[in-house]
């Protein structure tokens, strides 16, 4: 079985967080990247051949995965391959969709000689043993098996919904229906017989569901569903991403990061232990090695190297690596990308959230792009998006709820 991780998505829904990184490379859970969960699942499921299909801003993903050491993929004659769009004499196309991305690399995948191909999404958080899915797939003699999980009826419009009979045979697929009788969503985890997949990719479909699985279903092939009952979260929106992070620190979390039998593996940041200063006051939070905390932190997730100075308060927030919250600053319900600075006494998440439904996607959160510098004493309202490396020159010190500051290139103003 060879694993193919789809990690090319740019995820417009995540705004500045994915402006310069793939969704799969978004930091999660205080020290991980989202893709770590799927790569760890592969490692623990003893899948040793992995292809990672990248397209949007792949540099951070390539940098993170490298030769795949943390997941044991750096072995002779295999491991992990990064499959990026490439140019040939006859073709110059970006990946048009999931199926197209796989088709463009089919020669490479087929050459690995695996009887089955497991297609995964790099944007999801869950802990799953793919070997059990393989067992079910083989026992039923399926051509393709879809992993499915039960979702709330009101969430059906976010997912591809799957209906299946008592034997697990899929009877109907619906793409993001507003209303449906189906109770289970497709997790975007597909186990294909290699030959059948290769056959259908010849017609160069763009999408895996519409172009491969639907035709298989119509042709009466054995399309099966495998139910997964554990925690599973797609972190494709700001609200779901935020919620999934903060759920980790609930008193009885639905997903436990600590699991010695199935640890989440990631690249070691090589940072010293957390340093707690004289006035540190931290409760209900995740704080990673390399952080320095002298202020107050509540219900927040701090990534390696985040600094909370004396008198600062961070509540209900996510702070990425090496971001510094200055003395006396207040951060409430915000996501701060890496290497950002909040000046002394500044407020991030100020006042009331915007009422305009156009801002509903932000769920009242404030997003601060990487390298942004919030000047001392500034006030940034709720529902504000501060672009990457955004500058405050010539702007008021109060950014009102619901507004945005555009990103800047790092060399702007230098050349």
């Amino acid at each position: 079985m060879v694993g193919l991780v789809l990690a090319g998505g740019g995820g417009k829904a995540l705004s500045v967080l994915t402006a310069e990184r793939a969704v799969s490379a978004v930091p999660f859970g205080g020290k991980y990247r989202v893709i770590d969960f799927v790569l760890s699942n592969c490692c623990h499921s003893e899948i040793t051949q992995i292809g990672v299909l990248t397209q949007h801003a792949p540099a951070s993903l390539h940098d993170h995965i490298g030769a795949g050491r943390p997941w044991g993929f750096d072995h002779r004659g295999g491991g992990v391959e990064m499959l990026q769009p490439y140019l040939t004499r006859s073709e110059a196309e970006w990946y048009q969709g999931t199926a197209h991305a796989i088709a463009r690399n089919w020669d490479r995948i087929e050459a690995l000689g695996a009887a089955r191909v497991l297609v995964l999404s790099g944007d999801q958080v869950y802990r799953m043993d793919y070997r059990r899915m393989l067992m079910v797939h083989q026992r039923r003699g399926a051509t393709v098996t879809l992993a499915v999980t039960r979702v709330l009826p009101q969430e059906s419009r976010r997912f591809g919904m799957v209906q299946f009979d008592r034997e697990g045979r899929v009877t109907r697929l619906e793409e993001k229906p507003r209303r449906t009788e189906a109770t289970h969503a497709s997790m975007g985890v597909y186990l294909f017989e290699t030959a059948a997949l290769g056959e259908l990719l010849r017609d160069r479909p763009a999408d895996l569901v519409a172009g491969v699985i639907e035709p298989l279903l119509k042709a009466g092939e054995a399309v099966h569903a495998h139910e997964f009952t554990g925690y599973w979260e797609d972190v494709g929106t700001v609200a779901s991403y935020y919620r999934a992070n903060l759920e980790l620190i609930a008193p009885a979390p639905r997903f436990e990061l600590l699991n010695p039998r199935w640890p989440v593996l990631t690249r070691d940041e090589e940072r010293p232990p957390v340093h707690l200063g004289e006035h540190a006051d931290v409760e209900e939070s995740l704080v990673a090695n390399g952080c320095r905390v002298s202020g107050r932190v509540r219900r927040s997730v701090l990534f390696p190297g985040a600094v909370v100075e004396r008198g600062a308060e961070v509540t209900d927030s996510i702070v990425y690596p090496d971001t510094r919250i200055g003395p006396g600053a207040k951060v409430d319900r915000a996501i701060l990308d890496k290497h950002a600075t909040v000046g002394a006494g500044a407020v991030v998440g100020w006042g009331d959230p915007p009422h305009d439904p156009a801002h509903a996607w932000l769920d009242g959160l404030t997003l601060i792009g990487k390298d942004a510098e919030i000047p001392a004493g500034a006030r940034v309202g709720r529902g504000v998006v501060i672009g990457i490396h955004a500058g405050f020159d010539g702007l008021p010190r109060e950014i009102v709820a619901g507004s945005a500051l555009p990103s800047r290139a790092w060399y702007e103003g230098r050349v």
Binding site: R271, E278, H279, V287
Partner: protein, 423 residues
Amino acid sequence: MSRYAFILAGGLGSRLCLLSERRAKPAVPFGGKYRIIDFTLSNCVNSGIFDIGVLTQYRPLSLNQHIGLGRPWDLDRNRGGVQLLQPSLGSIQSDWYQGTADAIYQNLIHLQRRRIEQVLVLSGDHVYKMDYNLLYAFHKASHAAVTVAVTEVPAESVSSFGILEADRAGRVTGFQEKPEKSDSRLASMGVYLFDRDSLVRWLAEDAELLDSGHDFGKDILPRLVARGEHVYAHRFKDYWQDVGTLDSYYQTNLDFLAARPPLDLADADWVIHTQSAARPPVYFERGGMAVRSFVANGCRIAGGVEHSMLFPGVTVESGAVVRDSIVMQDVVVGRGAVLDHAIVDKDVRVGAGALLGHGDSGTPNRACPGHLSSGLLVVGKGAMVPKDVRVGRNARIGAFVTERDFGGDVPAGGVVDGPQSMH
């Protein structure tokens, strides 16, 4: 030009009491996530030295496990890398290492096919950050046959070190091993850069001497200085610490909790590499509190932590208090338990309501009064401390003792041993 370093890592570290009972001193945990040898190994690779032999002898298993193939230090390479050199049988001279010089002498074969002009000899017992390139440059500029790195120590502690006297150019004119008193305060750091050919000649000569202890500090260097060889001292001015005793081990660890720590462990230009397990970030629960402390990934804090160092995977349950203590990997401090001035080794379970470290500190430990008398309390690896037990200061709780080995409360200076104790 290629470089090669030997790291001496065979020492007993007997003054570290229970901490080095089951592991070599360089493998003793330090600084909230490191082992002592990480500093020397990281100094090597950060100085561009990627060909290293680690000489082990005393209880090397935890050291072997820690170093492994040398991955964290980028020492898992096709050529060079790290090699663990344990005493062995089969060569012309084969026996346990008799002293530091003998350990190198028995491994001279490793210099045979290496194209090196100098040999760096290091100790795996010290905490410091040093760029060995400066030592090489000094050695070359002074045309030395051997250069000894030295650091200034307080006058009252000269008796713990090899003390050198040097002229203004750095030429060593006197060398005394652990003198009662001395006009000089320049102590050898156990860092030697030898010209390879001189080293081979001197070691072969020393091996023939029946009255020699085959030790660099005690035998070879005093002899070389006395007969006027080109021995030079290179002054190192930054932080350097030998964590030889339980008291200095404790103090040195806690020095890192200060607002201005003696070494910057977060320095991205001089990373201290170490082996680290896949553990989630620290989880602070409601009611948890930690101040003036180091807390490493994998810890879960529901109680109070003050001026302490917690290694990965420590659990402090609610109502528990950890104060002025060093707590190693995967220790569980039960509900309402109190640790005060305690050094607790790996995998210890402290039962709910237990009180470790109370009362007077004037009674030295009954079994080892020499190095357990300042009020610290030591709990050995894997010990199970019963709930509600009270343990006085300067007490020693042996490794792997169980609740049955406790006959009630432990008085100040008391000892709890079990079937697996080694003292």
